[in-house]
């Protein structure tokens, strides 16, 4: 079809109206410049961060503690804190997100008002500013849930009613929930209906079909969703600003009720509140480089898995 269109067009231009061609080229050129501009900016950011961060970036930097009032040393605790955060977050968000996606694709009836409301809530969840999740974490998890636990079990002693890894992870889980739901839903939809029908025709119930046929087929979708969520959770800082991230800790967190250090938060405080911003510049760039490598490589993996799923769907 495309070739036909192109031929007519070329014919059109070659016969008449050469002026239009110039104008058209100009306009198409502008749109092309917009694309090139975005791509150029992206690579400039990447380039500068890699260039500035490379000298400090080493295994030692990744595996050592910050020293000398955070003006020297590495980022090991921040990296570990980020890992713990995303792991606890995934444990909370992945089952929840997968089940919601199963409801939406398998159980929800078409034109069901409730399913529409669920969908709308998920989309709203995706656009709510991340700082609001932080406020919610503070108001709900820390003060309401944590405070409630302290009142009933710890006789009012402050233990859970303060910022810690658990509350930060749960807050982050809410933020990344839409990412997981969308990915899993997309994967569930690629399972051919013949498979489901065959399973049902063999006498399997709906739940058996979902459990044994649909879910195993959509493992890759769940993986994609989890990876994207982890990538998002590793990079977000606003929700953990007051739900658990710590400025500096001399030891690694030992339990879920400890505070933690975080890569993104580390970048933020190093670049805005450090005692010597100039001196720590290489550390800041190297930390940014680590965070960027982490999020971008996770994203790349997710994109590759996703394109495979899409190919299967075709």
């Amino acid at each position: 079809m495309n070739t036909v269109i192109n031929e007519t067009e070329n014919h059109f231009f070659s016969n008449k109206k050469k002026g239009v061609d110039v104008k058209g080229k100009f306009i198409i050129g502008i749109t092309q410049i917009a694309v090139l501009l975005i791509i150029a900016v992206l690579f400039i950011i990447l380039g500068i961060i890699i260039y500035e961060g490379r000298e400090k970036f080493s295994w030692e930097f990744i595996s050592s503690f910050p020293t000398n009032g955070m003006t020297e040393g590495g980022i090991f605790p921040a990296l570990i804190g980020t890992f713990i955060l995303v792991i606890v977050m995934s444990i909370a968000a992945v089952p929840f997100g997968t089940i919601t996606a199963i409801y939406l694709t398998e159980y929800a009836k078409e034109n069901s008002k409730i399913a529409a409301a669920v969908r709308f809530s998920i989309r709203t969840l995706a656009v709510v500013p991340s700082i609001i999740f932080g406020l919610f974490g503070l108001g709900f998890f820390i003060q309401f849930v944590g405070g409630g636990i302290d009142k009933t079990f710890n006789a009012g002693q402050l233990h859970w009613g303060q910022p810690n890894i658990l509350w930060a992870s749960l807050t982050m889980a809410l933020l990344t929930l839409p990412v997981i739901i969308v990915s899993v839903e997309e994967a569930l939809k690629t399972i051919p209906r013949e498979l489901r029908e065959a399973s049902l025709a063999l006498g399997a119930t709906k739940w058996q079909t979902i459990k044994n046929v649909v879910l195993p087929g959509s493992i890759s979708g769940i993986m994609t969703g989890t990876i994207l969520a982890v990538s998002r959770g590793a990079g977000e800082v606003a929700p953990i600003l007051f739900t658990g991230a710590a400025y500096y800790l001399a030891t690694l967190p030992e339990s879920l009720s400890d505070q933690f250090m975080n890569l993104g938060y580390h970048i933020y405080i190093m670049s805005t509140q450090s005692s010597d911003v100039e001196k720590t510049m290489p550390i800041q760039f190297a930390t940014t480089l680590v965070l960027l490598i982490l999020t971008l490589s996770l994203n790349l993996v997710a994109v590759i898995i996703r394109s495979r799923i899409r190919r299967r769907a075709k």
Partner: protein, 420 residues
């Protein structure tokens, strides 16, 4: 999906009826209830963020008018709370000087209000009708509502009473032009923050909107299939950049670069913040616009080309108008992203709540205010509540944006492609 195979649906239902299986029943119920939790989360977020901001409404009665404008609780609740109003006890004390103070004060507080409002209008009406509507109930609402409420004179007295007392918790501090939350007489001038937020949002959208939409047009209308497969993932990779990284880049690189180019005074300002936020908004606007443009039926393009229009004419005069609702939604979601962006605002805008229209001066946005001050506040303080109140404003705003994007756009698109 189920509707495509009504037979399957019937089959399962009938079999369930014939033979009740507990596991089957439980699975469905558990899955449904987990799914409904996402609705509950939205409600909980609103309730808990708003709940923490409630204390500020107890200090001036006119704050209640504000509550009504937003949360619309039944008016029956009002008389109840009147009784417990602590300021009413103050009345007898202040009555003596009241008529004078009342009239003296009124022009003071109200007089300055319309001015700031008008100051605001030219800036906001231009490109952001939505925010303005959001704004109106907040600022005008109080002024209009008061004369109509029967007990308005009482309210005045209370306000004046607490004003004379010099209490930090009066509603009038919200309409001062200064944001000085930590001082002997704290002032919570939301207007300064609002102007800051709008300034950054407008700058960001002026940069991100055209670039992202033009790029989307190129990708969906002009690019070859292979180019499209390369361009799309690369631009979407920009969405994977954590906002703290973009903020850091703006703080370290962009700020210095643009200061060298333009030579303005404050290194971190609304313009830098706007540029950085444009980077965050571009992938969102691009992706949604591109989807909208690609969703236009092939017949539109073919009809236009068959009539002798060239490729660019088709793109700009046929495809673009047809995709307007989708692009509008993309811009709305872009605004939502910029409006609530915290880390970039914290790092790149300078964080000074100044009341000026100059784009090269430092600003402080709503989200950045919450992010930077929440850690320093004490639970239950006015400052704490005010920050949560700002949070609920942000939530309501993003919720409204999403609702408009969702329902308006869907309605339009359905009309366009099916109704005709």
């Amino acid at each position: 999906m189920n509707s495509e195979f009504p037979n399957k649906q019937n089959f399962t239902k009938e079999s369930l009826k014939k033979q009740f299986r507990l596991s089957e029943f439980l699975a469905e119920k558990i899955i449904s209830s987990v799914a409904f939790l996402s609705i509950a989360i939205i409600v909980l977020i609103f309730v808990f963020v708003f709940k923490e901001s409630l204390p500020i409404f107890n200090f001036g009665t006119s704050e209640k008018a504000k509550t009504e404008m937003e949360a619309a609780p039944d008016s029956g609740a009002k008389p109840e709370s009147y009784g417990s109003e602590p300021t009413e006890e103050l009345k007898p004390e202040t009555y003596g000087s009241e008529p004078v103070a009342n009239e003296e004060l009124k022009p003071e507080t109200y007089g300055s209000e319309p001015v700031t409002n008008e100051d605001l209008k030219p800036e906001t009406y231009g490109s952001e009708p939505v925010t303005n509507e959001d704004l109106k109930p907040e600022t005008y609402g109080d002024v209009k509502a008061e004369p109509t409420v029967a007990a308005s004179s009482d309210e005045m007295k209370e306000v004046v009473g607490s004003n004379n007392e010099g209490a930090d918790k009066t509603w009038s501090t919200f309409f001062t032009t200064e944001w000085v939350p930590v001082s002997e007489h704290p002032r919570f001038g939301l207007i300064a923050l609002l102007i800051g937020t709008l300034k950054v949002t407008i700058i960001a959208m002026l940069i991100a909107g055209p670039i992202a939409i033009l790029a989307a047009i190129y990708t969906s209308c002009f690019a070859s299939k292979r180019a499209k497969e390369i361009i799309k993932p690369i631009i979407e990779m920009l969405a994977a950049f954590p906002s703290v990284v973009i903020g850091f880049f703006a703080l370290m690189v962009l700020a210095t670069f643009f200061q060298d180019v333009f030579g303005y005074e404050s290194r971190l300002n609304a313009f830098i913040g706007g540029v950085a936020m444009a980077l965050a908004a571009i992938p969102i606007i691009y992706t949604i616009s591109e989807d909208a443009l690609s969703a236009i039926p092939k017949t539109f393009t073919e009809a236009s080309l068959a009539l002798g229009a060239s490729k660019w004419q088709t793109a700009f005069f046929v495809i673009l108008p047809a995709a307007t609702p989708g692009i509008f939604a993309a811009l709305l979601l872009g605004v939502g992203r910029v409006f609530g962006e915290t880390m970039i605002a914290l790092m790149a805008t300078g964080n000074a709540a100044l009341l000026s229209a100059n784009p090269f001066e430092s600003v402080r946005t709503f989200a950045a205010t919450i992010g930077s001050e929440m850690a320093e506040t004490v639970f239950g303080e006015t400052h704490y509540s005010v920050l949560f109140f700002i949070g609920s404003l942000l939530f309501i705003f993003s919720f409204a944006l999403n609702a408009v994007a969702e329902f308006y756009v869907k309605g339009k698109l359905i009309k366009k492609f099916q109704g005709k």
